[in-house]
Symmetry: C2
Subunit: 496 residues, 2 copies
């Protein structure tokens, strides 16, 4: 579409577009342009007319156009470079091609697939479960480290003579002995500051985030997320009608600037101890900054401590929650990585004044259960199996990590950067900004290796390039050979 | 507050009220009045000025006032009697005292408890878990009929040598053999018309409804619910930002009239085979009507077949889904009643064209797991234990039901009505419209009996009166004596 004709075309679209009767003008403009981008009527790189000229052509106030452009910019649809004006972003968030959100009470858009608008967004990305951390070498995930027979005996013990209450829903926010066991673990190993009453047992991270989004935010509220960020969290926040405000991540973690501070959120979702996916650890200063800002704004911080158990060197970091003086942090953890993903148990530590409401909301919205498994897990922890299992996993995953780092070393010669040994279940190979990491991932796939482009986790125009390589669940003996193949792919890709 | 002063007061409130900048006038009026009612500034029975006089006083168009009043009426805040004008409803939906919904993209209301507006609604009711079907005689629920030792052996078998895939999340919409087993069961016993691909295993009814609400509706869409209706469903639909449109229930089930048909929904939530809580069976004509209407409007019907397994006499009814020619019905069932509530497994049957999207949405939003338990359940069904267990439960619950009906028989002498033997896990004693069923329930509680006022399940002014008595989980030997005590309470209450 010629930039010259855009305003005329926009005018027609605005007339034709099916909008709710009372939808404000800036939303109509925003929607019309966003749809045009999503449907590729406005192609990436296309230059948009100035807000002033559009305002004149459409007969709207300039503020109306500015508001619309600001939102398009926030959501990564357009980019502005001083001098060259505003252009359609070259790289759009993957799901936006399908997305078509009208956050209004009279939305009656029907999508082709029969789903609602938010439904299309929610279901849009899951054909890439590859975004899950999973082995970079194909084949089944390796859960062989998990002591299934010990676990079987613990479950058995529970089932031999279960109390009726264990067969019922969980009315109490979780099985008390499990909550106690988690409280002790978090106090010792994560410096989390809590009483047992503050802990809720959820059915995992997705459900924890969902519960927080529903109990602490309203449709249309703003949420800060890290850019790049964890897909799963983003999807749940989006389906709850939240406005995503991406905040860049630097070497000190989430790095909000003045432009961000001017757009205070209701909720801040962050991964301070090991940024997902980049792996950065949030600095002390940044933690203070976030905590103070949240307190000043009355915003909530959602600290996702998703893989803190897997720190291979150095002392474990304390949690953001442990530094919080104002009761603004909700801390969440999961058992899906230490135990097994399908266990579907996680926990949420909420400020004391929210504990009762969350217990209610958890019951009302999710009807938790699986108390028998919670009881077995409590024994697993109390009897020390949990701690020793973590030690064992740390050893195994640490070795896999070292083998992978070693096999990948050669890539540094072509400008790729490897992270320090660090921690976690995956590592990120940083690639030069000008390289096409999607293409490199494709080349790796041709060699039968599953790695994921870092850019795919980003939002908006300026996305970091890199490859995300999951090693934790890959069989140890296959790490080195596959790592070498991957290194060759990268070197070949970067050398021309 | 004097009706005379209301318009002046309303004028001030409208000026003071913190509303989003672009909130339409009718919403402001609606919100202001609703808040006044919720905060008891406008007391039940208070007569409101006419829309015309208010329109003049406020300088709004009459349509603005009519729109606001219509919504207040739909949501049960006000009632209009010809002649006596519009008054604040005497009986308000329990949760509305706390509710304060502004379905707009700029809602920044902060509630006292630190929760969001929808969070307050979501968490508002759960201190009444009594609304769960539970024994009317205090004490622990009786799950003794469940074959725990057989179940333990089946789980054990699974855990002896679990496949890695069973420890992972469920990527496939559920464990295939379980989906097959359910498909066979539903075809035979519920005349559900389906292929295995249409079945999804969820973690229960709340999650099934939540998934449908998110994938099929958008914030602000209208949903029809039965009045009276199942609290849990209502709560989940509400937290998803849906406008609840209550539809009365008569002896043929959900009974939409012309006023309802003029407000077409995106979703219809119904319990045709055993209306919750009243127990009415939806007539054939009504089923056809609903199906045809849904097809003509492109609305979805959510058929909650929550307790169809427990039909004590007569042939089991076929499902609404089985009659559906247009693929508008989603059918949901649960294992929490036949197995045990804490198992947290349910299923959803979706139209073929939605199957793939729902599989994706399920994974993306809920990260299902517990595949080991799904596998054990599949064997439980395949080996015939499920069918025989249902037969056994039917016998036990049927006997408890008969004992209760017998013990309650005397209440008919004071104008109360008992339902036919029927089916299910609870029965409803219908009380005269002029009686205070909340008070009767309190009197029963003083005798140590937990029964629930039918009016508490209703929405709006005209609520049926009655008592809901859960018998299924009460020990058989205590049914008769406790039933007689309850009968005495009712007779005493109704005779003066």
């Amino acid at each position: 579409m010629e930039s010259l004709t855009i305003s005329d075309w926009l005018l027609t679209e605005l007339k034709l577009g099916r909008f709710p009767p009372r939808m404000p003008a800036h939303r109509r403009v925003y929607e019309t342009i966003r749809r045009a981008i999503a449907s590729h009527h406005l192609t990436p790189g296309t230059r948009l007319p100035s807000t002033r000229s559009l305002a004149d052509a459409l007969g709207f106030s300039r503020n109306t156009l500015l508001a619309a452009f600001e939102q398009l910019h926030d959501e990564g649809y357009v980019v502005s470079q001083t001098g060259s004006g505003t252009r359609v972003a070259k790289m759009l968030p993957e799901d936006y091609a399908e997305k078509n959100t009208l956050p209004t009470a009279t939305n009656t858009t029907i999508t082709a697939n029969g789903l609602s608008v938010r439904g299309t967004v929610a279901a849009g990305l899951v054909d890439q479960p590859s975004y899950e951390v999973q082995p970079f070498a194909p084949g089944e995930d390796d859960f062989s480290a998990f002591p299934t027979q010990l676990w079987r005996r613990l479950l058995n013990r529970q089932w031999r003579n279960p109390q009726p209450a264990h067969l019922d829903y969980g009315h109490a926010g979780g099985y008390l002995p499990l909550r106690r066991a988690i409280a002790n673990y978090l106090r010792m190993s994560r410096a989390v500051n809590l009483t047992v009453e503050q802990i809720l047992i959820t059915s995992g991270t997705q459900q924890s985030i969902d519960l927080c989004a529903r109990l602490l935010t309203d449709h249309g509220d703003r949420v800060w997320i890290e850019n790049p960020c964890y897909w799963g969290a983003r999807r749940v926040l989006e389906v709850n009608g939240l406005q995503l405000h991406p905040v860049p991540v630097d070497d000190e973690g989430m790095a909000p600037g003045n432009a961000d501070f001017r757009r205070p959120p209701r909720l801040i979702y962050t991964t301070p101890s090991h940024q997902y996916p980049k792996g950065v650890v949030m600095s002390y200063g940044r933690r203070r900054l976030l905590l103070d800002y949240a307190a000043s704004q009355g915003a909530w911080i959602l600290e996702d401590d998703y893989d803190s158990e897997f720190r291979f060197e150095g002392r474990p970091l304390s949690s953001l929650q442990g530094m919080d003086q104002s009761g603004r942090v909700l801390y969440l953890g999961t058992f899906s990585k230490v135990m097994y993903p399908g266990i579907k148990l996680g926990y949420l530590v909420v400020p004391p004044n929210l504990a009762e409401s969350f217990k209610r909301g958890l019951y009302e919205l999710q009807r938790p259960g699986q108390v028998v498994i919670q009881a077995a897990l409590a024994e697993f922890i109390e009897e020390g199996h949990f701690a020793s299992h973590i030690r064992r996993l740390r050893q195994i995953y640490g070795e896999r990590r070292r083998l992978l780092q070693k096999a990948l070393a050669p890539v540094t010669s072509v400008g790729a950067r490897l992270p320090p040994a660090g921690s976690g279940l995956h590592l990120v190979i940083e690639l030069p900004p000008d390289c096409d990491d999607v293409r490199v991932a494709e080349l790796a796939a041709e060699q039968g290796l599953h790695v994921y482009p870092l850019s795919g986790y980003g939002i908006g125009e300026h996305r970091e390039k890199g490859l995300i390589v999951g090693y934790a669940y890959a069989a140890t003996e296959r790490i080195a050979p596959n790592g070498r193949i991957l290194a060759d792919v990268i070197r070949a890709a970067l050398s021309h």
